[in-house]
């Protein structure tokens, strides 16, 4: 009896053990029920586009480059405006996030489009990806590019090398040309509604690509005028053309639904840190620029600005900055979400205000400069027309309709076009700087290239005595890609600080607009 029980129990145990041994099937439990391993190109593109549009927005722009460009100044806890919170630790996420967020997603869309042989998918994704890469290299200089984003591909690296900025620009030109050619010759269906920028209209993506190519060409004019001229000519003469009106602008229309809001308006919901910079306002108020009431709100206390509008100096201490709270203008109500935690400003349309990636107006200023410089097949005689077209495009964009006021403004000395170098170029640069309000990254890059306005200087309490020429590299990269960071710094020939100049900024004296004021002390 006992033996039978023993063997029965032993038998059970063996059976259980045998069941336990058939254990491969349990790995089926590890199929992820939450997330797919593949996703539609359109859904990935939409996500990437709205993430990318945050460049001109909340963190990277409104709380970083817009201060450096001195479009705005910081009235409370002015750590960014003093550049102390623009040091490596604070800007690390701006660099890192771009790569593993929008750039990687756009790479996935490009790969999907290419595997389907559909330029209507990979073309727009390529143009948008180059736009993001351009923002990155213009802020940091040499960056990972040719080896970047390949972490999951066969033979890909987890420690991409940093490409020279010059090589990156070369690649930009050729990739844009390829994308344009492919988009111009396809009948494939595009991204449609999944493309929040152009709703899948490839003719507009072609215009954006050509316009971006023109921007890139002009950016390198001080260091490689030959390529700049060739690329400008190619961009302007492409059959698809560049932006021809404000309708062509590359812009992200925000749903304004409380989740996807304009990033400036989103920031302004709870933060009241921004005032107009004296630097920008001094280029507008004395000329009765009719955009002033759009860009800025009237001051609440007219002690300093009896005419109602004015900016505050950049780079002050907390105590001195605070004194400007009501005597300097807030940014215009069109940028505000309506109700905020500190008051109501405007009607809330700021939540929907599109973010502009690139505008027709900027293209007109590029053309005006090219013309004045006799580049890209243009001649100086065309410069004035393009210059005024740029101003008019900006007025239209910001909803300024008072033709008389615009005419009066354009007639003012200092605004009325003065042909010639450097006078004309200076005026183009100033008006471009004013028109770029809202895109600090471009305004800062243009200031470094043109030194206009010459009044951009580090504030009295800035932690360095000069305006940064670049940002410091990501702290993450120092811990996981240090050797390549070191190579990048030796490539650029400087330390990892605000002073080191990137390739297109390495020959300032080549700029016809160059002034001694721009040759500020370089480095701590």
């Amino acid at each position: 009896m006992q033996k039978r029980i023993v063997s029965a129990v032993a038998g059970c145990v063996v059976m259980l053990a045998a069941m336990a041994c058939d254990n491969s099937h349990i790995t089926a439990l590890n199929n992820n029920p939450n997330n797919p391993t593949d996703a539609p190109a359109g859904a990935v593109f939409t996500f990437a586009a709205q993430t990318a549009a945050h460049w001109v927005g909340n963190g990277r722009d409104l709380r970083a480059t817009e201060f450096v460009a001195q479009h705005v100044a910081e009235v409370q806890y002015p750590d960014e405006d003093r550049y102390s919170r623009l040091q490596g630790p604070s800007t690390t996420s701006y660099f890192d996030d771009a790569y593993f967020q929008e750039l990687q997603d756009l790479r996935k869309v490009i790969a999907k489009g290419q595997s389907e042989g559909n330029p209507a998918i990979w073309g727009p994704a390529t143009v948008l990806q180059i736009w993001v890469f351009e923002n990155l290299t213009d802020i940091w200089g040499d960056i990972p590019y040719s080896q970047a984003l390949g972490g999951d591909s066969t033979g890909g690296t987890l420690t991409p090398a940093y490409d020279k900025q010059q090589d990156i620009y070369t690649s930009f030109f050729s990739r844009l040309a390829d994308a344009v050619a492919a988009m111009e010759s396809t009948d494939s269906a595009g991204l449609g509604g999944a493309d929040p920028i152009y709703s899948g209209d490839l003719t507009k993506w072609v215009k954006f690509a050509n316009s971006l190519r023109a921007r890139l060409a002009m950016r390198i004019v001080n260091v490689d005028p030959g390529t700049a001229s060739t690329q400008l000519a190619a961009a302007l003469s492409d059959p698809g053309g560049v932006f021809a009106s404000n309708d062509d602008d590359a812009k992200m229309p925000w749903p304004g639904d409380g989740v996807y809001d304009n990033p400036w308006a989103d920031n302004f919901k709870t933060r009241d840190d921004h005032r107009m910079s004296k630097t920008l306002m001094n280029e507008m108020v004395p000329f009765d620029d009719p955009r002033v009431p759009v860009y800025a709100q009237p001051v609440l206390d007219s002690t300093f600005y009896p005419n109602g509008y004015g900016g505050m100096p950049n780079g002050l201490n907390a105590d001195t900055a605070g004194t400007w709270f009501n005597v300097a203008s807030r940014p215009g109500v069109i940028f505000y979400p309506g109700a905020t935690s500190y008051g109501t400003f405007g009607d809330g349309s700021g939540l929907h205000l599109p973010t502009y990636l690139m505008t027709y107006g900027e293209v007109m200023f590029i053309k005006a400069e090219a013309a004045e410089r006799s580049m890209g097949g243009l001649s100086p005689a065309e410069a004035a027309t393009d210059y005024y077209a740029g101003i008019q495009a900006s007025m239209d964009r910001w909803g300024v309709t008072d033709a008389a006021a615009i005419a009066a403004f354009e007639a003012k000395s200092g605004v009325a076009y003065t042909p010639g170098i450097p006078a004309g170029l200076n005026e183009i640069a100033i008006q471009k700087y004013v028109a770029l309000f809202g895109d600090g990254t471009q305004a800062w890059a243009e200031w470094r290239r043109t030194c206009q306005p010459v009044t951009v200087h580090a504030g009295p309490n800035a932690i360095v005595s000069f305006v940064p020429r670049r940002f410091e590299y990501s702290q993450t990269e120092y811990s996981v890609n240090a050797a390549n960071v070191a190579t990048a710094l030796s490539q650029m020939g400087g330390a990892d600080n605000f002073a080191t100049r990137m390739w297109w900024d390495s020959n300032p004296t080549a700029a016809p607009t160059h002034t001694a004021a721009c040759n500020e002390p370089t480095g701590p």
Partner: protein, 1049 residues
């Protein structure tokens, strides 16, 4: 050994009883039983103040023949056995047969006696080749406390416990250090044989609510005993999760009471007071640059949007304030402390149990009501349990236990930057603010037409937050197990066991209209009238096991113990969250009231492990034991076909005083040596093999959104392996009046499955890989001494000391990676950095002159320097020292916790200096806001000469941001954790209550802390995870003082 001692003692007792045996017929008899009614052979039973006594036999029965004349006497009868708590009962002896049964509770095992290493597996501690330490119920319930885990700290050597920074918060526990780089470093908890996961429901220094880990919900009163198995050596049989050690919990199942019902009561009430608060300055009020004037608290006045205290001197001058125009500008030194209330904690535990030889059961309920030290805060806990044993025939035994645990909280104090009031109070709070005005008017508007609040730019009135933005949470947990054992023969038994743990938790944050820090909720006339965030999670864990157990004397001197088993463990987890930034109708916190499309998230996870395991041990002549264990696991989360891993262990123990009796003397009474080598495997987290796209519930203008996940999966993952060695000795001196238990251990975890950071430029933030090695080596010891036993046993002094020293080192990561970030706050990171102890604090130093190492100053101010390792969170050593003095029925005890070294980053100090609220920021503005100013010692970066530039205190303290160096503190402290004064009510009163013991005690907790860390409680924990060592606005452990009543039947 047992048999020999038993015979010897029997002989002695028999000799002692010889005269009476001849003379009398009256007897005292009964059974001595342990947990679950199991007989306790060898227990001694004797009548106090007589020489009368007896020894229990193998069935637990004892028999004392009483001399004539004893009948009619009322006597105290005492039963004792090593490893069990002594028990006394009062009996009035009668003629004939007197019956008196004893049910003994497990007491902490020093050297000998039995110890539970697994459900139903009690082994003699002397035969254990690994380090294990038991904690008795008595040790856990002496001082009422929310959390039994917290009690293990100073009581078990090798265990490091960090108490929570807020009420009901997480207790971080580490046994012999942290071995896993990014994985779990908490031990495994096993309740009545069923492994249950503990879930970190904590927060971190960056903000949130710390709900505490679920294991803490178990009522200490329901616990019979706890055995802490230290490290993988002792816990190899429990599988992967025991690589960090295991805490084996045996719950009470009732005792054999011959059918009588017994009622136990343990109740207490304590007062709780806020613990350590920062040392604030009271010379300067809110503002900047020495200026302040209130208009709306938004910046429209003079510096009134500013929330720092570098304003005008608090000299009584009239200044416009939120309380009215031209109010005297004076300090309110107690403004922060007056925010807090005296809290109260009421706790009552009632249990009934009883049983016979065949069955026994226990039912218990416990209630804890806590009104917190912050306004409108309470915490309620309910525990209930039912457990019992049933014998069917003489071969079949069944046992079952079920616990239902529930707790809910309202307005737990949030920690960190984003979740609550404490950051506002500790570092951003104007020193002139009158807290009572805020309290009285939190729903009102002031005469300026603005919300009655000291600052409306960044802060809501703290009372508004507490009353209008309630955080609320509930969690329910069911833990149950059933098991049946069939004794096949006298040496072989089979057991089947099934158990599970079902858990669900909800938390909710309501945000009322008028809160300044949530989007769109700032003003009453908004489209959005508030916001909410709902969070729900649930998990079920099921385990089943089949075991065969053999215990056989192979020869008269060789004994075999063997175990073979199969098991299966399944876990299902579900989480969902709904939040919106705006609602339509005020005060309705329902998803249908969302004015902004709510963001919905959902996550489900399933995994399973199948196992085959076994062990065999041979004991020679009762003094030498060798044991081997082996386990093979199959995990669902590893690649198909490669999901199996095997791990063995071997250990041995030798009782030298038994092997060589000549060693024994009056001084040396016991000496045991032990050693063990073990290996434990561990599996990968679920879903780490394939990279996926993540979707978003909120559509972009109607368009769906997907983004590639930032973590790069790895389809080649292999199991990770921990190897551990330990040696130790146990020593008994002077008749075991002094005992020492000491171990040296080392363990190394290699091939770790870590989500290692990769260059973000690769398109990913991190990647799952097998890499890295962490080594932990250390010593641990516990010393128990009874230095004084005098006055015929009436006076006794017991002292115990535990000591842990653990050295951890990250030996290797990958070729590319020098460090892995475990967590970070304000640009400081806690890291596993190659060559450093686990948990290196990596942050910014001052910029220094390379030759003189003096600070390199710019315009008289310090500058941000390079990053460096500024410390480690690992302490040099920790210890606990407990002293107990007993005189007759009066006992006084005190427990000191000692924590030596390790470093912390205090964000409270980091921002407290930035904002000028701390007393330390008076420096440089002693006379007026910019007078005399500060000349910082250092080199001017322009001149290269010694600095002579005078700066204001405001400029200096704000220039420190974000330099971490001055805010890293050596985390040494000495804490008087517990003090207790107890009185056992005299027996004649006790017997009126039909109780065996009634005890009244006064107790205090956290009454005194000695530390050099300024302004904060140096002990804080906000989660059980690996991000430790960064403090921010943690609510210091409250000081408690209370009274307790315990009635034992």
């Amino acid at each position: 050994m047992d048999a020999r001692i038993r015979h010897a003692l029997f002989a002695a007792a028999a000799l002692a009883l010889v005269p009476t045996v001849l003379a009398a017929q009256d007897v005292l008899t009964g059974h001595v039983t342990g947990e679950g009614g199991a007989p306790l052979p060898n227990a001694t039973v004797y009548i106090q103040n007589t020489r009368l006594g007896g020894i229990a036999g193998s069935d637990g029965a004892y028999r004392i023949v009483l001399p004539s004349g004893e009948a009619g006497q009322t006597v105290t009868v005492i039963a004792r056995l090593i490893g069990y708590r002594e028990r006394s009962q009062i009996a009035k002896l009668t003629q004939g047969t007197n019956t008196l049964d004893f049910a003994l509770e497990v007491a902490p095992v020093q050297l000998q006696g039995v110890i539970t290493v697994a459900e139903g597996q009690q082994v003699k501690k002397s035969q254990l080749g690994t380090s294990a330490q038991a904690v008795s119920n008595e040790q856990l319930t002496q001082s009422p406390n929310n959390n039994f885990v917290e009690q293990l700290g100073a009581k078990v050597a090798g265990v490091q416990v960090t108490s929570p920074g807020t009420q009901g918060g997480s207790v971080a526990i580490r046994i012999r250090g942290s071995a896993s780089i990014t994985g779990n470093n908490e031990p495994l908890y096993v309740i009545d044989g069923v492994a249950i996961p503990t879930r970190d429901r904590g927060s971190d220094a960056n903000g949130g609510w710390d709900f505490g880990s679920t294991i803490s919900d178990i009522n200490a009163d329901d616990i019979s005993s706890i055995t802490v198995l230290k490290g993988p050596n002792a816990a190899a049989l429990y599988g992967s999760e025991a690589a960090n050690g295991a805490v084996i919990i045996t719950t009470k199942h009732g005792a054999n009471t011959d059918g009588k019902i017994q009622t136990h009561l343990n109740t207490s009430y304590s007062f709780d007071k806020v613990g350590i608060l920062p040392d604030f300055q009271n010379l300067y009020g809110q503002g900047a640059g020495g200026q302040f004037s209130y208009v709306d608290g938004l910046g429209d006045g003079i510096q009134d949007g500013n929330d720092q205290s570098f304003g005008p001197r608090l000299d009584g001058r009239p200044i416009d304030q939120f309380t009215g125009a031209q109010q005297p500008w004076i300090a309110h030194p107690d403004n922060v402390s007056s925010f807090f209330n005296t809290g109260g904690t009421f706790e009552a535990n009632l249990a009934v149990d009883g049983g016979s030889e065949k069955s026994n059961a226990r039912m218990a309920v416990g209630v804890q009501n806590q009104s917190g030290i912050v306004p409108n805060n309470f915490f309620h806990k309910w525990t209930s349990s039912l457990a019992g044993n049933l014998k069917i025939g003489d071969k079949f035994t069944t046992t079952a236990s079920l616990q239902f645990l529930r707790n809910n909280g309202l307005n737990r104090a949030g920690v960190g930057y984003n979740a609550g009031i404490l950051e506002g109070l500790d570092v951003w709070f104007g020193r002139q603010v009158d807290m009572n005005q805020l309290r009285q008017h939190y729903m009102d508007y002031n005469q300026f037409g603005n919300r009655y609040n000291w600052n409306s730019n960044y802060h809501s009135n703290p009372f508004f937050l507490q009353y209008m933005n309630p955080e609320s949470d509930t969690r329910n947990q069911y833990i149950g197990s059933v098991s049946a054992t069939y004794r096949i023969t006298d040496w072989l038994s089979a057991t089947g066991r099934a158990g599970g743990d079902i858990f669900n938790a909800q938390s909710q944050q309501d945000v009322a209209s008028g809160n300044v820090s949530w989007a769109g909720a700032g003003l009453e006339d908004l489209a959005y009238q508030g916001a909410f965030n709902f969070y729900n999670e649930s998990q079920t864990d099921y385990s089943t096991e089949g075991l065969l157990n053999a215990t056989k004397d192979l020869t008269s001197r060789l004994q075999l113990n063997a175990l073979a088993a199969v098991g299966e463990h399944q876990a299902n987890y579900h989480r969902n969250q709904q939040q919106t930034q705006g609602i339509s109708v005020p005060n309705i916190y329902n998803i249908s009231n969302a004015a902004i499309s709510p963001t919905l998230t959902q996550f489900d996870e399933k995994d399973q492990t199948n196992s085959v395991f076994g062990s065999a041990s041979l004991t020679w002549d009762n003094w030498w034991t060798i044991e081997g264990t082996a386990r093979n696991d199959w995990s669902s989360t590893l690649p198909k076909g490669k999901n199996s891993y095997f791990y063995p262990s071997v250990n041995t123990s030798m009782v030298l005083t038994d092997a060589l009796p000549s060693l024994k003397s009056n001084v040396l009474t016991f000496l045991k040596l032990r050693g063990s080598i073990a290996k434990v495997g561990n599996t990968a987290p679920a879903y780490s093999l394939l990279t996926t796209f993540d979707g978003q519930s909120t559509k972009f203008g109607g368009q769906p959104l997907y983004t590639l996940d930032d973590a790069l999966a790895n389809s080649e993952l292999k199991p990770e392996i921990t190897r551990a060695n330990e040696v130790g000795f146990e020593l008994g001196l002077f008749g075991d009046r002094a005992t020492v238990d000491a171990s040296y251990y080392s363990r190394a975890t290699t091939n770790q499955i870590i989500n290692v950071p990769v260059s973000p430029t690769s398109g990913f933030q991190d990647k799952w890989i097998n890499a890295g090695k962490i080594t932990n080596k250390g010593y641990e010891a516990s010393l128990n001494v009874t230095p004084v036993r005098a006055l015929g046993g009436d006076f006794e002094w017991n002292t115990t000391f535990t000591f842990n020293k653990n050295n951890s080192r990250v030996d290797a990561l990958t070729n590319d990676v020098q460090t892995i970030v475990l967590g970070g706050s304000w640009y400081l990171t806690e890291e596993a950095r190659k060559g450093q102890p686990y948990g290196a604090l990596y942050g910014y130093q001052f910029l220094r002159d390379p030759t003189t190492h003096q600070l390199l100053l710019h315009d008289g101010l310090p500058q941000l320097g390079p990053q460096a390792v500024l410390g480690t969170v690992q302490p040099d050593w920790t210890g606990g020292w407990n002293n107990e003095f007993r005189y007759k029925r009066l006992t006084v005890s005190g427990l000191l916790d000692i924590h030596e070294g390790g470093s912390i980053f205090s964000v409270t100090n980091f921002f407290g200096e930035y904002t000028g609220v701390l007393a330390s920021t008076i420096h440089g503005r002693d006379k007026d806001w910019n007078d005399p100013g500060l000349v910082i010692k250092g080199i001017d970066d322009a001149t290269g000469q010694a600095n002579t530039t005078v700066v204001t205190a405001e400029e200096y303290f704000q220039s420190l941001f974000p330099i971490h160096e001055p805010f890293i503190y050596r985390d040494s402290y000495l804490k008087l954790r517990e003090v207790r004064l107890s009185l056992d009510v005299p027996p004649n009163l006790t017997s009126l209550l039909h109780a065996s013991q009634v005890q009244i005690a006064l107790f205090g907790r956290n009454l005194w802390t000695s530390t050099k860390v300024p302004n904060i409680d140096p002990e804080f924990s906000t989660q059980t995870g690996n991000f430790q060592g960064v403090e921010f606005a943690s609510l210091a452990n409250p000081k408690s003082f209370g009274i307790q009543l315990q009635v034992t039947p």
